[in-house]
Symmetry: C2
Subunit: 227 residues, 2 copies
């Protein structure tokens, strides 16, 4: 297998069958040793973080498949911490699509004049550019179109899929009395040109709370996978 790309939390290989294989690492994003799903740097390494992320991702992607929501999942090998996926091309040099149910993180840092911490948000969707150097700037529909990153139609498809996927995750968490505050998704195009969910769905790309307490990624995996 050929290593295509070594990311902050995953390595990406090409398989002999022409699929991609994601190797989940034990590195998580954060700053100064503290986990932060919104951070752009690897903050710390936690043994088992990769497998935990993969378990949760596998559980959610299998649920998406049952619902017919298009995504890149083929299968997983938990022991090896790898997931085989459909090859997909990203939009531009990569986008992050965020769905928010509570005002926290960068939303609050930007719009704190109009929102209080923890205020309910109605599944608000926004897109940021993956650009570490420029701190992942938010970008609107018109700019995405003008810069040739997303057509208006693609923007709508991605927004609608994001709401559906976030709603599914939210419902799954509520069953365990966990509240989803926000979630960050990535999309790509499969070889047929269909827009599909790529990357992962784990504690590493969402903020989940129980009784007002933030639940770190590995604990989230334990609660969700074991119940």
């Amino acid at each position: 297998m050929k290593l295509i790309y070594s990311g902050k939390t995953k390595d990406v290989y090409q398989t002999e069958e022409g699929n991609m294989l994601l190797k989940f690492k034990d590195d998580v994003t954060g700053e100064n040793g503290v986990f932060d799903p919104g951070a752009n740097t690897v903050g710390l390494t936690m043994e088992g973080a990769g497998k935990a992320g993969l378990k949760l991702t596998t559980l959610f992607f299998q649920k998406l498949n049952k619902k017919g929501i298009p995504n890149h999942y083929i299968d997983s090998d938990i022991e090896e911490a790898t997931m085989t996926v459909i090859p997909a091309t990203q939009f531009g040099e990569g986008l992050e699509v965020i769905c928010r149910y509570k005002a926290v993180g960068s939303f609050l840092r930007r719009y704190g004049k109009y929102a209080t911490e923890g205020q309910k948000l109605d599944g608000f969707v926004e897109i940021t550019l993956k650009d570490d150097e420029r701190q992942d700037p938010p970008i609107n529909e018109d700019a995405l179109k003008m810069l040739g990153i997303l057509t208006k139609e693609e923007y709508q498809v991605i927004k609608n899929l994001t709401v559906k996927i976030a709603e599914m995750v939210k419902e799954e968490l509520i069953k365990r009395e966990i509240e989803l505050y926000d979630i960050k998704l990535e999309f790509g195009k499969d070889p047929d040109g269909n827009i599909i969910l790529i990357d992962e769905i784990s504690g590493g790309n969402m903020r989940a709370y129980k009784e007002g307490q933030y639940i770190p990624p590995m604990e989230l995996e334990r609660i969700v996978v074991s119940s």
Copy 2:
């Protein structure tokens, strides 16, 4: 007359007839003594800057009136550096609506991964919150709606008016071989609930270039008003 508000570049008074009177100051926005239309602080004081801004504003608002584009202008007293305007309420605690023809300033700082300096932009409109503390964050249509600042209909009206007004300014400048790079507008609601252009249209809220050279506000006024 009662002083209602003292802003960075204007003081606002209430007249006895129930209108508002804007007194243009000689203070301009910038940093460390250098003018910058995108800055949030008063950078320097230039004698005559207030009158120059008012002359240009008056010229543009009178042209808007001829075209039937709704705005707050009633009349001006150049000697006193004052403009009488219709009282209007702002949206939320104030918005800035930017129309861009060239990639410069904060657009380039945010989207430099996809745009080069001076690249042509197709009259791209974006909205930022007036919030000095948070560096005037950009905000999209959905967030403006969710936070109760603009309805979807108001967003469309403002976007359409912005394009029309920016286009008019651009045309006026082209006649003097000046190129408009970007312009920052403000809107409010008049007592009947109509959306109207408020504030000013001057060198202080646009970037204008001649033969690739930036033209400072007072020079812009001299070129445009005298020709």
